[in-house]
Assembly symmetry: D2
Homo-oligomer: 358 residues x 4
């Protein structure tokens, strides 16, 4: 049950980095949605390695093959199976890691838990697993588009370089105009520069992705354990390297008092709305019709191209130096993954909300 | 399904602030555990209103009545039903809120979603709902105690006043020696002072709770969507007023590079361990045997004793001034709630982990 | 998770025969439904012991107390907690069973599985647990009534005495006019007579309940594992003493060939329908708009007032003779239970069906 | 969620008859199990069309390709993705069914529910979907074999020809020695003869499969809604064409009184056991260590090679005559499917049972 995400709309994923491929099954996807293959592939391309000098030079086409659930270009309501075949793997790059636990990777915990592990490229713990999320998320976006709901994420921090303003201060259309996916062109340049420096050192760096959901109706979210923010947090923290989640004012709001942070209602030409949006579009776990926004922190990639101390599978102290082709910074490629998890969550809760009244 | 939390161990809760009571059903609780009623009541007392000058002066005994699943002092493996009867409600305090949406509360979203709402004391959206979590969490703690797993939370920030060090710098035994539940007696005094000031203004203030889980075996957590941090984040963000979750280095780690943040393994007298614990005890979604720690931010309570602008249920602009007895700061009473959600999550994953190998 | 039934609409139940009471939580019940308390109590009265000479002479009022989720007479969309307090228990009747395993009861399996058991009245394995189903089912019926869906069950067989015709041959309005709940007054008399005889011997007898669902729209049921018949079968086989389930032609249909059993479609004044209904209203796991009907077999109650050989908890051969007040035949009281499980299933699938298309 | 089966061990399936293939994901499969590919293929061969004169002459190799979750011949605990590619489809055979609803098929209900349907070969509603069950079931059997649990099914009735005795009267080793999979060679001949006759008429015939589970420990099954029989019934009724389920004495037991049907315990050389097994190895929803046995009735295949009346998608009366290659009797090929669903259920409950006590 733990390789599945969602309730009514549910993605079940499978696949390892150096196995045959990464795939999944999307169950509960609404029938009758036109499947725009170009759009789906574009989403995969945003996640694809080798798309810019900032990312791993691995070349993977990452073309998705749908296996079921689509007939004459439309979803049928039946489960949508899909796979992205692996290719261009250099499994040999991992030979020296077979018997060694890489620091801050999942090698040790997987081995201890399962008694067995596919060491090649991290196996199931590889970030390559997120391909299945992007495919499913792209489908969810197609449905949300029909509902007028739009999801946009961007890189808002890399290491110490950060956008100081809230998302409303930026033109989010600019996000895709630079390889870091930052809507502030100046900051984007700085971030790019920093990533290049870190890469040259064989080191890695983390950052923050901000995500905005626009056009959500009032009513999505299910009290009390299915609060919208709880589902979003769960989805985000399930992404490799994610370390933190905050929505609305988040940690920043701690500087304010209740009287300052409350979002006061008013009647805006017949529609109830709020002057401010400290709540991040969610009140009592339910969307209130304002923009939903949240931030996700990603740690630096654990694979550094430097010698590190560690132990081998027999518990003997040793050293390890990673070979292979790795990302110095996961942020740019994680933007579509964050959007995908948000899209899956919102569509799921949209469908569920229909069951609220008879 | 959304008033339930957990997988094998599952709490289903019910109840409203001014209804008959708050209760729940705990399913999947292991058989044969001795039920220490004093301990459970003590946990409830830590959450109880009126326990100090810092909290709402409402006086509620909050005695739990168990309804099933316990026989001759032990759990039977059958579902444990329970209820804490409501008493001392002043429903009249809420009469003026019947037709008005309180800012940053769930009134508007509930009404829009459900078409009906119990306005008295927030109904289901009241933080009184967390009683069921504390009862279930106390039971989980009893089981975890047998396994040598201990969960401790404390207030690490109130408004701008914060503990600067990580949890290892404090004597956590001191947490319960002051009403804010802060293990640093000096800071505790400052926090207490601040809360008193804010209260005098009729205002409210937020803060951060830090939680530490000690003694967890290697192997808890289920890739990929059931990562331990994802489950913890979901549990924490389902608590009223929670706005953010971070584990390990969280946001702070963004200042570091991968080479600095990696937790290097070494053999410590026959046991594989790490020198540092930036990972927060979880790698690849699975506990690695180190302490698990995380932080949860809580916004200021939305109910302020000041006049605020808002709209009524007909969408007409109006003002509202809360009456009644409210907490100026939710933090001290939220400490056992955070612990409870952590305990439920850890015991659930402990049980699930048993199914990993034949 | 196993004391819960349903998906979007979910009953979680708790309670033992000789504990404080039997209760539950109904989650996902649609908001805004008027709660007709008289109707709910009438349903409980149909299940109640002591309602006729055919049932156990135990006198239990079985009054339900709702604990949450209802406000000013209507459902709020929040979980509906409820309890029926136990009373009139003669726990002493079970003293001689404390250390002995009753044949064909759950004593031995519970003890072995859980290591502990509440022996009084069967504890959790008592059919008294079905009270929670009847309460939840009554609520579901209230919602279904608004949708024009009606569920009716009746006793169609007791021991060898059986109704030979399909449900369409009987006036189901007569079901409640006799204590066996059989719509054929002649057969009802025979059944009554047989039960009286069996009771006089201290023995017990089984039978069959037939259930009909009228007014179901086309489209309820979820391929492939959520087929409507699979959900109904699961619900029915979860009732104590149920041994078999068949829908449509069931076992009887084996005498026919495909050409005879197929339900041929035709256009009936603009509505697609079928001449026959061998399918029992379900095709491909989905309701087809015809009446849904199925049959559930119940074995004789295991408690006989005769001396039986058995073993005690130390594995020593012994004998046992039940004392206490028991039903000679479970059928009459099981009729509302079968209806309740059907009602829960149909309402759940009705709600789920709304998520099929955008 | 409805294309998934199981709790901890969960199969999610996808695929249509004339799409790319039939596949699935098996989540929660225990790590470290040696994957015997030959065994899995043999199970698929037992389900394969064209295996004898009794089945459809379609030739499909039905070779399974595993996509993940297996490393160096062993399960890793990660989800096991797989696919059986479709081939040899004659989609043209279904052209005349594109706009017509086949009687007693899922065409009409799918179209009405989803607004769209893949008409080729029944699409998702095709029995070809059961391939995924056989693959997953074969894996489950490999794990159960290690635990000494064995599952065997056989054809016990075809039309009116039936085995009169309980399973203990037959040598189940003979089941696979004839194409109908009946352990009584005489009856097998008669059944074969009958199927040949029915086939010659272009008609179809149903029957019963009996399944026996040997070696099950005491304790599998989860009260109250997760009773072992309820899970088995749900699994069986989710198979295409299944119409009825009974376990233990089932309908036959109605002839007996409680005193006759009770399974009396005795001490058999230190082990508690029962003289008889009317209960079918399950008491109170929990396995009692005796053989578990149940029977599943299958209706005649709906596709008959005769002209039938029906309506088209515009609701106009018309006639239809099936072309193509179809099974006259589903029973022989359904035997491994019944076993597969039983194996998945038993292994799931075996794993769950481990969480009962600490």
């Amino acid at each position: 049950m733990f390789n599945s995400f969602g309730n009514i709309l549910r993605l079940t994923s499978f696949g390892e980095s150096h196995g045959k491929g990464i795939g999944g099954v999307i169950d509960g996807f609404p029938a009758g949605i036109t499947i725009d293959m170009d759009f789906i592939q574009k989403e995969l391309d945003r996640r694809r390695p080798g798309q810019s000098a900032l990312t791993t030079p691995r070349k993977e086409a990452d073309k998705v093959e749908f296996l079921s659930g689509i007939f004459e270009g439309k979803s049928t309501g039946c489960p949508i199976g899909f796979i992205v075949w692996n290719e261009n793997q250099h499994s040999g790059d991992y030979d020296n890691m077979k018997d060694v636990y890489r620091p801050s990777h999942a090698d040790y915990t997987y081995k201890t838990k399962y008694g067995i592990r596919d060491h090649r490229g991290g196996g199931r713990s590889s970030a390559r697993e997120t391909i299945s999320r992007v495919v499913a998320g792209a489908l969810a976006k197609l449905a949300l588009r029909q509902l007028g709901i739009r999801i946009t994420a961007y890189t808002s921090q890399v290491g110490p370089i950060r956008l100081e303003e809230n998302y409303t201060a930026y033109n989010l259309e600019l996000t895709e105009t630079n390889p870091v996916r930052c809507p502030d062109p100046e900051k984007a340049k700085e971030m790019e520069q920093l990533i290049a420096e870190v890469k040259a050192e064989g080191d890695t760096i983390g950052g923050v992705i901000t995500c905005v959901i626009i056009g959500c109706p009032v009513g999505l979210g299910q009290p009390v354990f299915g609060k919208l923010q709880a589902a979003l947090a769960s989805g985000m923290l399930s992404i490799n390297a994610a370390k933190a989640f905050e929505y609305g004012d988040g940690f920043k709001g701690l500087k304010m008092k209740g009287s300052e942070q409350n979002d006061v209602f008013y009647n805006n030409a017949g529609r109830i709305t709020t002057h401010t949006n400290h709540s991040g579009g969610i009140q009592g776990g339910i969307s209130n019709g304002q923009d939903i926004y949240f931030r996700v922190a990603f740690k630096p990639v654990a694979t550094v191209l430097m010698e590190q101390h560690t132990v081998n599978i027999d518990g003997v102290d040793t050293t390890l130096k990673a070979r292979g082709r790795h990302d110095p910074c996961v942020l740019p490629r994680a933007v579509p993954i964050v959007e995908a998890m948000a899209a899956l969550t919102i569509l799921d809760f949209y469908l569920i909300d229909r069951t609220t009244q008879l």
